[in-house]
């Protein structure tokens, strides 16, 4: 049994007699212990999708089955019960501004009718878990973005959830803080066995922590699978586009120079475990005696395997180019052409 099963989910909104399909026929299975990424450009429908997973948005069609329970069949009260085990964190943290951190974290326990003292004790423990033990009396406005998100995570953990939904949880944070928060999420997933669903528009976030990913474009699921596979062999146009963008999501500096170059062919090479430690590109240049432009390069750790990709501009000469591509393939690299 999957932890979360989404079957033929569709969601449409009506705005002034105009029907807008936000999601159409989405099918995904999220297994227990997964860190499941859902990625797409803004407006793709991913935020709507995550809100359907706890029925903050009611799907127009289809089913969401969480731990064997079909959410659509529940009464309002049962649904509230179910939500207590599906925690959620947000891009803008959404903490109570007029409550200090301990009271914020106790809030979900208070809703469940826990005695205040017990709730506070648990809140303090959780504050320890997220590394903010000294901020018990602070108010959200006195905390940095990263600290506020940690409080939000502690709050999410208060009810011992089975699932944690993260809606663009790191999008408002700087790269370093993003890494720390992702690290914390990963740690929670590993130590507490909580299934995590991450919504993001940043491929780097997916690569850093997710094991599986779904790519959403214009409300459709265009590609789904293991992160490692999709990163090496993206099939859909949307997946390629997301991977080719800069690691922090902004497409700066990459597309423009490519457009300016009229000669030569651009290829994307992907390093796998056995090739990443060899200076492949320099060796190739030495062997062929032909210059190669590195338009973009970036290596990182994906799911414990050294991974990286580069975009090279090869010489215009077709013969040399094909030989170079073969050379790279022989050394265990994935080679594919980049089309604009």
């Amino acid at each position: 049994m999957s932890e979360i099963e989404v079957r033929h989910l569709s969601k449409s909104f009506t705005q002034k007699d105009l029907k807008v399909d936000a999601l159409s026929d989405i099918n995904i299975n999220i297994e227990k212990g997964d860190i499941y990424g859902i990625i797409g450009m803004s407006g793709a429908g991913k935020s709507t999708l995550v809100r359907c997973l706890n029925y903050l948005e009611r799907p127009t069609d289809g089913q969401v089955i969480v731990r064997g329970q079909e959410l659509g069949s529940l009464s309002e009260k049962e649904l509230r019960q179910a939500r207590m085990k599906i925690a959620m964190i947000f891009q803008s943290f959404n903490l109570l501004q007029q409550k200090n951190t301990v009271d914020n974290i106790s809030f979900p326990l208070k809703i469940q009718g826990f005695p205040m003292k017990e709730a506070r004790t648990k809140a303090k423990e959780l504050l320890q878990t997220v590394g903010l033990a000294d901020k018990a009396k602070s108010y959200p406005s006195q905390l940095s973005g990263g600290q506020q998100q940690r409080v939000a995570i502690a709050r999410a953990l208060a009810c011992d959830p089975d699932i944690l939904l993260c809606d663009e949880a790191t999008s408002a944070l700087d790269p370093q803080t993003t890494d720390q928060i992702l690290e914390l999420i990963k740690q929670i997933n590993e130590t507490m066995g909580i299934t995590v669903v991450i919504i993001t528009h940043q491929m780097a976030v997916i690569q850093k922590v997710c094991n599986r990913v779904a790519i959403i474009e214009n409300g459709h699921l265009v590609e789904e699978g293991k992160v490692i596979d999709i990163f090496s062999h993206p099939k859909s146009r949307a997946a390629k586009e997301l991977i080719l963008r800069d690691i922090h999501g902004e497409p700066h500096g990459l597309m423009d120079p490519i457009d300016e170059i009229t000669e030569g062919k651009k290829i994307r090479i992907v390093f796998t475990a056995n090739s990443a430690f060899e200076p492949v590109v320099s060796n190739m240049i030495l062997k062929f005696g032909q210059p190669v432009n590195i338009l973009k390069a970036n290596t990182r750790n994906v799911g414990g395997v050294a991974k990286g990709d580069m975009i090279l501009q090869l010489p215009a000469d077709r013969e040399t180019r094909l030989q170079m591509e073969d050379y790279l393939r022989e050394r265990g690299l994935d080679v594919e052409e980049v089309t604009d």
Partner: protein, 218 residues
Amino acid sequence: MNSQTFHLLMNGLWETVYMTLVSTLLGYLIGLPVGILLTVTDKEGIHPNAFVYRIVDVIINIMRSIPFLILLILLIPFTRFLVGKSYGTTATIVPLVVSAAPYIARMVESSLKEVDSGVIEAARSMGASNWTIVFHVLLVEAKTSLIVGATITLGTILGYSAMAGTVAGGGLGDIAIQYGYYRWKTDIMLITVALLVILFQIFQMIGMKIASVLDHRK
């Protein structure tokens, strides 16, 4: 100033404070729940209900569009029925509450609508009921704004209470009309105005101070 005049003014001051505070309090007893009802049933609210919203909305608009002086006269039979007479401080409280309640409902509505929708969504995601959201999210998050609203309301009611002086409503307004206007005692008129100004300042200062002390957003 002789002791008789002093006594008169102090009595007027007390009556004004009494009318203003009691009217505001009773006004909130009605206006606060109505304001919550408006926020909740609004189409962006946590339990939209166009029918309820529309009806309450229209009633409030009608009540608010009647000038206070006219309301004062219109309500005389109602006031007599409730209090037994239509003049004096306690009688004045009736039209003051009737005029304050819709005003307060609007103030409360606008304060509650300022609450970040993200925080409400977060509470919903935790399984909070609408009831919990109203009492533990909306009212808590909006408390500063609600207190500022109450301070403004208090000032408005203070002004209205003085207006009631024209129909023997008691308080400082009554004295200003009786002595300052009908008997040409400009000095008494000026003192009542000064007292009203001071009273207004005190209300405003206390209200803003409380709001700022309770605000944790800074």
